[in-house]
Amino acid sequence: MNILSYFAQLFTLQNLMWLCIGATIGVVLGALPGMSADTGIGIFLPLTFSLPPTTALICLGAIYVTGSYGGNITAVLVNTPGTSDSLFMTLDGYPMTLKGEGLKAIGVTTISAFAGGMVGCLALLFIAPQLAKLAFYFGAWELFLTVMMGIIIIISLVKERALKGLMSATLGFLCSLVGLDGLTGFSRFNFGIMAIYDELPLLPVVLGMFAFSQVFVLIAENRKSIVIGEESMKGSVWLSPKELKNILFETLRGSVIGTLIGIVPAAGTTVAAGMSYNLARSSDKDPESFGKGNPKGLASVSAANNGVVGGSLVPLLTLGIPGNGTSALFMAALLIHGLAPGTQLFTTNAKYVYGLIFGLILANVFILLFGLYGARFYAKITKVPSSVLIPVITALCVLGAFSFRYLAFDMLLVLIFGVIGYFMDRLGIPLAPFVLAFVLGKSAEIDLRRALILMQGDVASVVLTPLSILLIIIDVALLIWPFWDNIKALFKKKEVKA
């Protein structure tokens, strides 16, 4: 059967209706702090029991796609990442908004998220079985090297403020050590508090650091609203051909990085977005402009973020290996409808899986619709008076943290990390290294220790494989890159002296 005929069968009233529902729910949940695509799929999973498989998968797929995008809007406009994944959007997106280019920022993040999503889906459509085998090559050591890429990015993030940046990262690593030691089953540094027996939960910490601290900042600066004056709405969400060309390369590179990193189990969005951002910044003629509202930075991150969606489904559909938490939920959805992941999914059950993939592609189109046509509406949020915005952000943060597992302690965590985040902000200590270290520290530690157990003293046989050597080269290159100019300067000086 021709692949295109699967595309045609998609257009039934029921399919399109559930696609719309899924896409809308996804954007809303993605934008709300504390809610994410995971929440949406979790909630909708039982709702889709009674639907035909294709329709159910399309609805859940749409939640996944648009849920990964929804957080971009709030991250860019109010510096409040809806999910921890959209953290990187705040780096360049929010400065753009402060400059009064909020509409343009939405345009950039929408277009590149769309591009990233499409690249991921096309990879899924055409080369999934070939790409899938990639997942098997990653043992504990290779995963450690991949996670290290994310950690190395910290260095280039803090180059100008090295001491303060490393302070922030160290605090992040310390926080990541709290809780269960995955190898021995022993809980460390929990001070006898059962709520952090496993770990410091990611969501309350990130919400506190990034969203709740904004409340204090808004109060302290006595701002009437995020953007003041009529200039806030300057520019258009529709990018000019010149602006499009400007971000084209970063978008494409981010899309490919997102797709590839998505395939690697457990590497995830943080590594993908961080790597893409780092490459965009290091290779740019004017790296200083990054973090101060450069559309290229925003584009590279948004594209990588949504590229992960398609990528993470590649090993899931072909091998039954979920690349991240959300795709693990997706596996449950497939199983409910009697579709076991594996190669037979692409042969005997092709009808459903191609329906899903085309559904994902259509959901990407919804990103464009929501982003470009809704931008003027969303942008109004930056003009909402602080007296309204502050209670809303506060309520969302606290409720978001609480709804995660119904523990009052998590609300306290939001408050504590909100205060920490505020003071770090005031002291000029960057927040991004903290979160990178906090998110990746745990996996780096466990993967390294697991790798050392598996090596059993025979280091060479694990480290000297082609993939491992390739990853080490990438790690070292990422490490040296930010200092390349300094190193060159050093050599030049020596020559002059000689």
């Binding site: 809610m35 909630i43 098997f136 059962m194 449950a332 199983l335 992941p341 409720l399 609480f402 597992r405």
Partner: protein
């Protein structure tokens, strides 16, 4: 005017969040309104639940909370939701079950809240074998004698296996290799202190072998590492293996149940291979001790009837569920047995 619009928008945002938090997690609410219509006539032959004497006439007069202390989307979570929906529909309840997902501390946070909740029949919880292991090892009070078991959903036999490319063809091969090269053969588990780590410990004792135990974050991670050749063997549960078995990337050497598993009838048990070890992970539903027996009996009958319902069977046909439907009496007996076994083992040699 603009201010008002913004305010309304803000209120809507907060309200929508609150709505997401409460109503949508309700497992039963979305099911169609209970129908006492003639259409139900055909199913009457299988659905045979009577309300026992002493059951409050209005039970359930509110939603029944089901505390589930792990992440959503697993096999037992989905199976429960399907059963819950069926019961609400067939019994024509006005209120259904609400899944309250409360993760943390390897289940301890959810179970601690569960065991101290009011024994009025409106709070029930997920009660697997692992709960007893945790309770004994960490001195917690959610032991089997403190609970009123309602229904056993499934019993998943343990399984030991290797990559399909591996040189080991039988469990004896693997154990002998681990005996000759102590600490050289790696075996992946999800937790050293849980049922899997415990089973490896018991297998080592029974055979004199010595493995290098490598804990991973989840079943799929273990299987990916084994299939990719990074780890030599795995010790998991049969229910975890379906996808990888059908892909042909792993093989299974032996199962931990008393008798052979229906899911993999060709695979011998640990006992058949000469190792006197039992590893079974049962997953039950329980209420705190002191709950009215009429309520326990009624709920038990409902769950058993739902598990035997043809619609439910059809819905779960393609999920490899190791069914082990047991009513409240059989379930209590089984879990008291687990409790005693692990308690004796702990007194002999603490594992955590």
């Amino acid at each position: 005017m603009k201010k008002l619009a913004a305010l309304l928008l803000a209120a809507a945002m907060v309200l929508s969040l609150a709505a997401c938090g409460t109503s949508n997690k309700n497992a039963g609410e979305e099911s169609p309104a209970p129908s006492a219509s003639p259409a139900a006539g055909t199913a009457e032959s299988t659905w045979n639940v009577t309300r026992p004497e002493g059951l409050p006439a209005d039970f359930p007069s509110k939603e029944i909370t089901y505390i589930y202390p792990f992440g959503v989307g697993s096999m037992q979570d989905i199976y429960f939701r399907i059963l819950a929906e069926k019961i609400k529909e067939k019994e024509g309840w006005k209120y259904g079950f609400v899944v309250k997902q409360q993760e943390g501390a390897s289940g301890d946070i959810g179970w601690t809240n569960f065991i101290k909740s009011k024994p009025d029949g409106y709070t029930i919880g997920f009660a697997p074998t692992a709960q007893q292991i945790t309770a004994i090892a960490y001195g917690k009070n959610y032991t089997a004698d403190n609970m009123a078991y309602i229904f056993n959903m499934m019993s998943d036999p343990g399984a030991v296996g290797v990559s399909s490319k591996s040189q080991y063809a039988t469990l004896q091969d693997l154990m002998n290799a681990a005996k000759e090269n102590p600490g050289k053969i790696t075996i992946g588990v999800t937790s050293v202190t849980g049922s899997e780590g415990l089973a490896v410990l018991q297998l080592e004792e029974a055979s004199g072998a010595k493995f290098k135990v490598v804990p991973y974050d989840g079943e799929t991670e273990v299987l990916t590492a084994v299939a990719g050749g990074h780890c030599d063997a795995y010790c998991l549960n049969v229910g975890d293996l379906a996808t990888f078995l059908s892909e042909g990337s792993i093989k299974i050497l032996a199962v931990g149940s008393e008798e052979r598993s229906e899911l993999v009838p060709d695979v011998p048990t640990y006992k058949e291979c000469g190792y006197d070890v039992i590893q079974v992970n049962s997953r039950a539903i329980a209420a705190p001790a002191g709950t009215d027996e009429a309520i326990i009996k009624y709920l038990s009958d409902c769950f058993v009837a739902a598990a035997n319902d043809p619609d439910v069977k059809a819905q779960c046909a393609d999920m490899t569920i190791p069914y082990d439907t047991k009513d409240y009496k059989e379930t209590t007996e089984m879990f008291m047995g687990y409790f005693k076994t692990y308690k004796d083992l702990w007194e002999k040699e603490p594992w955590a």
